[in-house]
């Protein structure tokens, strides 16, 4: 089963991921075009306290994602509704060093409905439990690894 490895600085674990519109991914399976040509690597903060994956507004605009739903979140000030998008998450086997480098990306089989963050953060994506529980996630003093589930999910 595919294995992704990464590091942390003692405060945050960051993975390099790709986001793909779920509908485009579905269409892509019927063609032989490379969906990931020119894919944009995003910085994803791994957060086991988040039940759902969130994306920054710049990710939405960069990929031209279309809002499909509204998601309800509870926070310090009560409940709020945020725009929701349907996408797939891909992990870079090795983060690209520049935009021309061809990278191998492994895509989770599960469609993710993620919400949009209100503000831009230092990261692009908040990678929540909806993604992490699709496989085996391990974190220790040396770094982290994510092993895909048995069926590639």
């Amino acid at each position: 089963m595919p294995l992704i490895q990464g590091s942390h600085d003692g405060r945050a674990a960051i993975a390099t991921i790709a986001i793909v519109d779920a509908a485009k991914y579905h269409e892509h399976k019927q063609s032989d075009q490379s969906l990931f040509r020119g894919a944009v690597p995003f910085r994803a903060l791994i957060d086991t306290g988040a039940t759902r994956t969130m994306i920054a507004p710049r990710v939405v605009s960069r990929l031209g994602l279309q809002q499909v739903t509204m998601l309800r979140f509870s926070g310090l000030g009560g409940t709020a509704w945020r725009p929701g998008y349907l996408f797939r998450v891909g992990f870079y086997e090795r983060p690209p060093t520049d935009t021309t480098e061809h990278s191998r990306i492994m895509v989770l089989k599960r469609d993710i409905i993620g919400g949009e963050l209100t503000d831009e953060q230092t990261f692009d994506v908040l990678l929540g439990m909806d993604v992490l529980t699709t496989g085996a996630f391990h974190l220790d003093k040396n770094g982290f690894e994510f092993r895909f589930g048995e069926n590639g999910s």
């Binding site: 779920a22 279309q66 979140f73 926070g75 000030g77 409905i113 919400g115 963050l117 209100t118």
Partner: protein
């Protein structure tokens, strides 16, 4: 996103929330496809609902809501969601 689409999603959400207490009894965990404040069908997955919406409505003016009555948590980044926003 166009103003029309945003309005549609907002209107659909309002109607969906009115019907939610009844919907969870029979459709919990399913995805409702909504258009003009009406529920057009229920689907096993969000992608199935989106594909059905794209096939049925060429203007792509529709939205999807999961039939569930729980709120998501964002852990440490809870402050990332501003409750003052609509």
């Amino acid at each position: 996103m166009s103003h029309t689409k945003r309005q549609e999603i907002s209107q659909n959400l309002e109607r969906f929330l009115q019907a939610l207490p009844t919907l969870v009894l029979e459709h919990k965990g399913e995805y409702a496809l909504l258009r003009h404040g009406r529920i057009e069908g229920f689907f096993e997955s969000a992608l199935d609902a989106q594909i059905a919406g794209n096939q049925k409505f060429s203007d792509q003016i529709f939205s999807i809501q999961c039939v569930e009555d729980i709120a998501e948590e964002l852990g440490y980044f809870s402050y990332a969601v501003d409750p003052r926003l609509p």
